[in-house]
């Protein structure tokens, strides 16, 4: 889709992507703690980047939606840095390396049943990592668990999720 979009500079096709993804990215960022305004601003920035870079997207290297996820994630992290300029601000910790081809993008039903199959605590850990953006240490503090247990829980969860979603384990 992105390949066609770039070839024909197809705005209608792009707006289909926009209509699907923008409310979801917004909600995802709000969950992570962004205000509604900031989330919308980052949505616009993400989608504009998708548009501008559509010709550079390489389907051999990532599925379109994973590519989009990376863009949104990196913009969010950059924004966090600007707001509390603590670490390494001049450096990107997400280099544009040639990522390898990956498993097919899963339909979202799969992730749901995969998450449902996890023990409650592991599912909770996954939520905290992805939706709340928490580090192992923060999760350990939140849940009153040793960091080692947070890590082993996430390890097990990751293995089950990628297996159920069709990747290798």
């Amino acid at each position: 889709m992105l390949v066609d979009l770039a070839k024909h500079q197809d705005k209608l096709l792009f707006m289909q992507l926009y209509d699907y993804f923008s409310p979801r990215i917004k909600s995802f960022l709000v969950k992570k703690g962004a205000s509604a305004e900031l989330a919308e601003e980052l949505v616009q920035e993400t989608m504009l980047t998708v548009w501008k870079k559509a010709a550079s997207y390489d389907p051999e290297k990532a599925t379109a939606s994973t590519w989009l996820f990376r863009i949104a994630r990196n913009l969010w992290i950059d924004r966090l840095r600007k707001e509390k300029p603590d670490l390494l601000s001049p450096l990107s910790v997400y280099p544009e390396t040639g990522y390898t081809p990956n498993m097919d993008v899963c339909d979202s039903g799969k992730i749901k049943s995969a998450l449902d199959s996890l023990p409650l605590q592991q599912a909770q850990l996954v939520y905290k990592v992805y939706y709340e953006g928490k580090t192992h240490r923060e999760i350990a503090d939140d849940m009153g668990m040793p960091i080692g247990s947070v890590k082993s829980g996430l390890r097990l969860a990751f293995d089950k999720l990628r297996f159920r979603m069709g990747g290798e384990s």
């Binding site: 792009f14 989009l68 990196n74 280099p95 390396t97 990522y99 992805y130 960091i147 293995d159 979603m165």
Partner: protein, 216 residues
């Protein structure tokens, strides 16, 4: 370069999700440069992220957002594809990720001596959480535990500790409950990039006296 020791799966998961502290993420980024296996794992973590993003209940954008987007499309053309030009790697032994910050050669850094056989360089702007350690051949690090996560990437030479032997490209992902005492085990010594998200805890009195020198 093929690596024998990788970051923990849970560390790669957080990296893909964008939930790793900057210092730890930098060590992962440097490891990914040379480890295809872990690049693949990170992509899996990103795929899970995207699936979770699709799961959230949609949050309506404000009324003008769509029109604004359309207007922006008129102002911005799709850029021509970025051709990745394989520029010949500039000479240097410092990982490319770190070069914008500290240059190309370990030898040009202003190392500070911490103890006999042990030098360190704290990365600017890292709040002391990211440092290079330069361990002379045969030198033992003080035994230490951690109150948080620690990630160590070997950049040059190798070291051994209770967990095994770590060569260039290898990562030690140490849980807080582990106490270890690395020793540089080759004639060239060992340079490591170490990220922590909390101060190291040294065992024994003498190492604790060294703490001020580590700026911990």
């Amino acid at each position: 370069m093929s690596c024998n020791h990788h970051p923990d799966l849970s560390t790669l998961l957080n990296y893909g999700a964008g939930s790793l502290s900057d210092a730890l993420a930098m060590v992962v980024a440097c490891h990914l440069e040379s480890c295809e296996h872990c690049r693949h794992t990170v992509t899996e973590a990103e795929n899970i992220g995207m699936a979770l993003l699709k799961e959230v209940s949609a949050d309506d954008m404000s009324r003008n957002a769509r029109d604004n987007m359309l207007a922006m499309l008129d102002d911005h053309a799709i850029e021509p594809p970025q051709v990745v030009i394989e520029t010949p790697q500039k000479e240097g032994d410092i990982p490319t990720q770190l070069r914008p910050l500290i240059g190309q050669w370990f030898a040009d850094l202003k190392w500070s001596r911490v103890a006999p056989g042990l030098k360190q360089f704290i990365l600017p702007a890292s709040d002391g959480k990211l440092r290079l350690l330069n361990i002379a051949p045969g030198t033992f690090m003080p035994a230490h535990g951690h109150s948080g996560s620690e990630l160590t990437l070997v950049l040059k030479g190798s070291y051994s500790d209770e967990l095994g032997r770590f060569r260039a490209g290898d990562v030690a992902d140490v849980d807080p409950d582990v106490t270890h005492q690395p020793v540089a085990d080759t004639h060239e010594g060992c340079i490591c990039l170490i990220a922590t998200d909390a101060p190291l805890r040294f065992k024994g009195l003498v190492p604790r006296l060294l703490q001020p020198f580590f700026q911990l």
